[in-house]
């Protein structure tokens, strides 16, 4: 019996965008990263439809992390106080495609550090590594509005990915990001419609849609990952069917979410295996699962997980 043709063709595709500006492009990056471009669902269609390989952005915190489990601290124990060295280690030793500077330390409930500190960290990391940067605020609106525009300015012209902006708080950072030539992360709380709404709002302010990356509050494996999973699948289908407001590449925060899971950090759980294995595996599993739904940039933390996921990406996205 002849097997019928089944490959589905789509009219739309995921936007392709290139992060990082090299010298020729007016920046100081030594490499760029291109993401997006898929023209079919994950594993659908032909090889040409797959788009760019997914990339890994490794987290570097602006201040020494306070609540990381030992297994996660171990690889970075000598660089935790120096974001520049930390970033360098991630790129040179662990093969990070991007560095995500996460400004946890500016949060009023954490270290409440000021804009000057954030600018200094940004400059340090820019100097230490040549890969493109992701610049990620602390999530406290008022403080982000004070600090992130300065961070944006410190990296002006570098074509960083900066965020996040929400429906409640999008105006100031969107305006700055467009002026400084960055890419913007729009952020919605696990709701595909709100995700689209925030893109429309940014677009209403004149922010070009093709410079947006979307972020759905990721859930770790075992902690609501299925919602993020389905939202991403739906977002991909929307992009393919021509919805310009949903055609953005997707970033997910696997590092933070998976290391919050008790399966990753609980030390006393004999039936679950050695915590030294369990944590990185939980991070790996979370990242792999989201990759099946179509993500473009994965924020990660543990080098072992990064290695496994990179290996998987290389096997499947050749």
């Amino acid at each position: 019996m002849p097997v019928p043709e089944v490959a589905e063709r789509f009219t739309g595709s995921v936007n392709r965008l290139t992060l990082g500006a090299t010298k020729d492009d007016g920046g100081t990056r030594t490499s760029t990263v291109t993401v997006g471009g898929a023209r079919n669902v994950v594993y659908g269609g032909s090889a040409a439809d797959t788009g760019e390989k997914a990339v890994i952005a490794m987290d570097v915190l602006d201040s020494k992390p306070e609540d990381w489990p030992d297994v996660l601290l171990e690889p970075y124990k000598n660089v935790l106080d120096s974001p520049g060295d930390w970033a360098k280690m991630c790129v040179e030793e662990f093969g990070a495609d991007l560095i995500c500077v996460k400004f946890d330390g500016i949060h009023p409930d954490k270290n409440d550090k000021d804009a000057a500190h954030a600018v200094k960290v940004t400059e340090e990391v820019l100097k230490a590594v040549g890969v493109p940067l992701v610049l990620w605020g602390c999530g406290y609106d008022e403080k982000d509005n004070q600090v992130m525009p300065k961070v944006s300015g410190a990296a002006k012209g570098e074509k960083c990915l900066i965020g996040t902006v929400t429906e409640d708080n999008y105006k100031s950072l969107t305006a700055i990001a467009v002026a400084d030539g960055h890419y913007l992360i729009t952020h919605a709380p696990l709701d595909i419609n709100i995700a689209k709404q925030i893109n429309i709002l940014a677009s209403d302010m004149g922010f070009p849609l093709e410079r947006i990356v979307t972020f759905q509050a990721t859930g770790a494996l075992g902690y609501g990952i299925e919602y993020a999973y389905s939202i991403q699948e739906r977002q991909r289908i929307a992009a393919l069917t021509g919805d310009k407001m949903m055609a953005m590449p997707v970033i997910c925060d696997v590092g933070y979410e998976s290391w919050r899971a008790k399966e990753a950090k609980l030390t006393d759980a004999p039936g679950w295996g050695d915590p030294a294995d369990r944590g990185p595996t939980w991070e790996t599993a979370t990242a792999i699962c989201l990759l099946q739904a179509g993500v473009d940039i994965i924020r990660m933390r543990h080098p072992r997980a990064v290695a496994t996921v990179k290996n998987f990406i290389n096997k499947v996205w050749t």
Binding site: K171, A175, N193, K196, Q197, I200, L201, D204, M205, G206
Partner: protein, 643 residues
């Protein structure tokens, strides 16, 4: 311990209300609002004592009390001993001053402007779509008196004579009428006016009177709304609406939506009170209409009701409690005709009370009336009907099928729950345009000073703020460079009209806008669910009917701009006003129309949105201006963005 504490009798205190001087004795700890209600003093309250509407402010002159903290009072007010009556417990004898602003807003009779404009809408009967055959009619019967050859008994003689004029295969007569019949017939030489009423397939001889009065036959149709009650007085012999009236539903003190009222009634065993309130409102309307038109109440032989299922239950004191609980059922959907007097309605004491049939607990006879009026059940093409009342009910269908749903849209477009919202009455801003220079053009009902904003004005406000970039697509104010935007007690507020000598400033607050956007989102989400479930595409819609008490000058374009109605060519959209009452009138005038209404009610398929898994998502999509899926609103062009 616990037991003995409970059994201990609570101390009682006297509360005196000024300026009326009315007093009441209540147990310690009684809530002030409750005490006021028991005394018969009506304090405004639209939240039913929940402590969020802030309307039940009173001043404490003397006495001990305990008030819960609230953000609804200014520091000045707190200093002056102003409290929210619903949040205050009585701890001693007290004297209270009730501010003037409370005086019986709810029992005030309003001129109903919609009603006037749409009073012609029982046109179906006049156009002959439904033949004229009123549910209750008076006929003049001239019988030849009995002779030795014609010795048919009086009662049967009457039947024969009636059947010469009308089709009435099954008849019955009340015992009292039967008893008085012989003497009456003899006294007037067998020339009588008979009032006959249709009760299903049976025709009842309701009344027999000497002489010819058949031209004096009147009926009242009532739209029993959760927020407002509208009555039309109709001359049954001329098929004409003579006069109209409307009033606020005085149950509103027990909650702004009927679910709250059901809960209140259930918890306080206040079903009688609920019935009394609504019956009182209806009687008030009837008496006002009759007096104005110099009609004797005895000449009103019919009263007919259309309304949501809960209101009909309250009216007849049927158990409404299962309406709110799974599996959400009504006590009766098809209410048989009863004697109006049995429900306490003051018309002819033997006059009949009819209710239009309803579909489900959450889709009442008002919606059946809407379908009947718009005649979407007779059309080949698909029509959409949306009735924006306290709930937003939506019907989609054609001659083959009808589907319906109810969104708890809330009464925002009725002006309730909006700071300066009001019904379409004198002083209501019914139309608003923002001119190119940023100034506002207002049209006010009665050409007087502005008092508030009615439904059509609110629709305009939302649309105009949006297309002028004063709010973003989520409805949030864009604070930059807006001189009219100030920070009030409840966050940002935007000035619609400045204060004048005789009137306060009219504003729209951020909370009002959120409320309006949610309302419209509820309606549109219901529309989407019905369209998706029946694979109805936008271009399949032949007609869209918008019903509701918005006011006179509803601009249907604005309803599309904000994303409440689907973006079809404007000529397909028709604003049809209060179709609940129009349908009630049609039924009152034609037995065929009643049959049609029954068939509609039986064939409508109800979608329960609460359990419908796609509804919440549609709601989120619609909770945006005009909608998250911009391609659904191609005619709503991009917005000026002021940042």
């Amino acid at each position: 311990m616990e037991e003995s504490k409970k059994k201990k009798k609570k101390k009682k205190f006297t509360v005196r209300f000024e300026p009326s001087g009315l007093k009441i004795k209540v147990p310690a700890g009684t809530v002030l609002l409750e005490a006021a209600h028991k005394t018969g003093i009506y304090l405004s309250s639209i939240c039913g004592g929940d402590g969020y509407c802030g309307k039940c402010k009173v001043i404490i002159n003397e006495g001990q009390f305990k008030s819960k903290p609230t953000a609804l009072l200014t520091p000045d007010e707190t200093r002056e001993n102003v409290v929210l009556a619903c949040q205050t417990k009585i701890l001693s004898d007290m004297t209270i001053t009730v501010p003037k602003s409370h005086t019986l807003e709810t029992s005030q009779i309003l001129m109903d402007t919609d009603a006037q404009r749409f009073s012609e809408l029982a046109g179906e009967v006049r156009e002959g779509i439904f033949e004229f055959d009123p549910l209750v009619r008076k006929i003049f019967v001239e019988m030849s008196p009995p002779t030795v050859h014609d010795h048919t008994a009086d009662h049967e003689r009457l039947y024969l004579a009636i059947r010469e004029q009308i089709d009435a295969p099954i008849m019955q007569t009340g015992f009292r009428v039967l008893q008085k019949l012989p003497k009456l017939l003899q006294s007037c030489d067998y020339k009588v006016t008979v009032t006959i009423g249709r009760r299903g397939e049976t025709t009842e001889v309701i009344e027999v009177e000497a002489g010819n009065h058949h031209e004096r036959n009147f009926a009242v149709a009532v739209d029993l709304g959760t927020t407002t009650v509208v009555a039309h007085l109709t001359d049954l012999t001329k098929v004409a609406t003579i006069d109209t009236e409307a009033t606020y539903n005085s149950q509103i003190n027990f909650g702004e939506d009927y679910i709250r009222r059901i809960i209140y009634a259930e918890e306080n065993d206040a079903f009688d009170e609920m019935q009394n309130r609504i019956v009182h409102d209806v009687n008030n309307l009837i008496v006002t209409l009759a007096t104005r038109q110099k009609i004797d109440l005895q000449e009103i032989t019919t009263v007919i009701f259309a309304g949501n299922t809960a209101m009909i239950h309250f009216l007849l004191n049927l158990d409404p409690t299962r309406i709110r609980r799974e599996p959400y059922i009504a006590s009766a959907g098809f209410v048989p005709p009863i004697r109006a007097a049995e429900a306490g309605i003051q018309i002819n004491k033997r006059g009949l009370l009819y209710c239009l049939p309803s579909v489900a607990a959450y889709v009442g006879s008002d919606i059946v009336a809407g379908v009947l009026t718009t005649r979407i059940f007779t059309k080949k093409g698909i029509s959409l009907f949306a009735d924006i009342g306290t709930n937003g009910e939506v019907v989609l269908g054609n001659q083959d099928w009808l589907v319906c749903a109810s969104s708890s849209a809330g009464p925002a477009f009725e002006g309730s729950g909006v700071k300066h919202g009001m019904r379409a009455g004198a002083g209501a801003i019914e139309k608003l345009t923002i001119l190119d220079d940023g100034s506002f053009e207002l049209k006010i009902i009665g050409n007087t000073h502005p008092v508030g904003i009615c439904g059509s004005g609110l629709l305009d406000t939302l649309a105009e703020l949006f297309i002028n970039g004063i709010i973003d697509r989520t409805g949030r104010f864009n604070p930059n460079g807006q001189p009219r935007l100030t920070e009030g007690d409840e966050g940002w507020q935007f000035q619609i009209a400045p204060a004048g000598n005789e009137h306060q400033e009219i504003v729209i607050t951020q909370a009002d806008i959120n409320n309006l956007v949610r309302s419209k989102a509820g309606v549109f989400a219901a529309i989407r669910v019905l369209m998706e479930s029946t694979q109805t595409k936008l271009e399949d819609l032949d007609a869209v009917y918008l019903a509701g008490g918005f006011g006179n000058f509803l601009n249907v374009r604005q309803a599309v701009t904000i994303g409440m109605l689907p973006d079809v060519p404007l000529e397909k959209i028709q604003f049809v006003g209060n179709t609940s009452i129009a349908g009630a009138k049609t039924v009152m005038l034609s037995r065929k129309a009643l049959k049609a209404a029954e068939k509609i009610a039986k064939s409508m398929t109800y979608f329960d949105l609460m359990s419908h898994q796609g509804y919440m998502e549609e709601f989120t999509k619609a909770n945006f201006l005009p909608h998250t899926d911009l391609s659904l609103f191609p005619s709503v062009k991009s917005v000026k963005c002021k940042t």
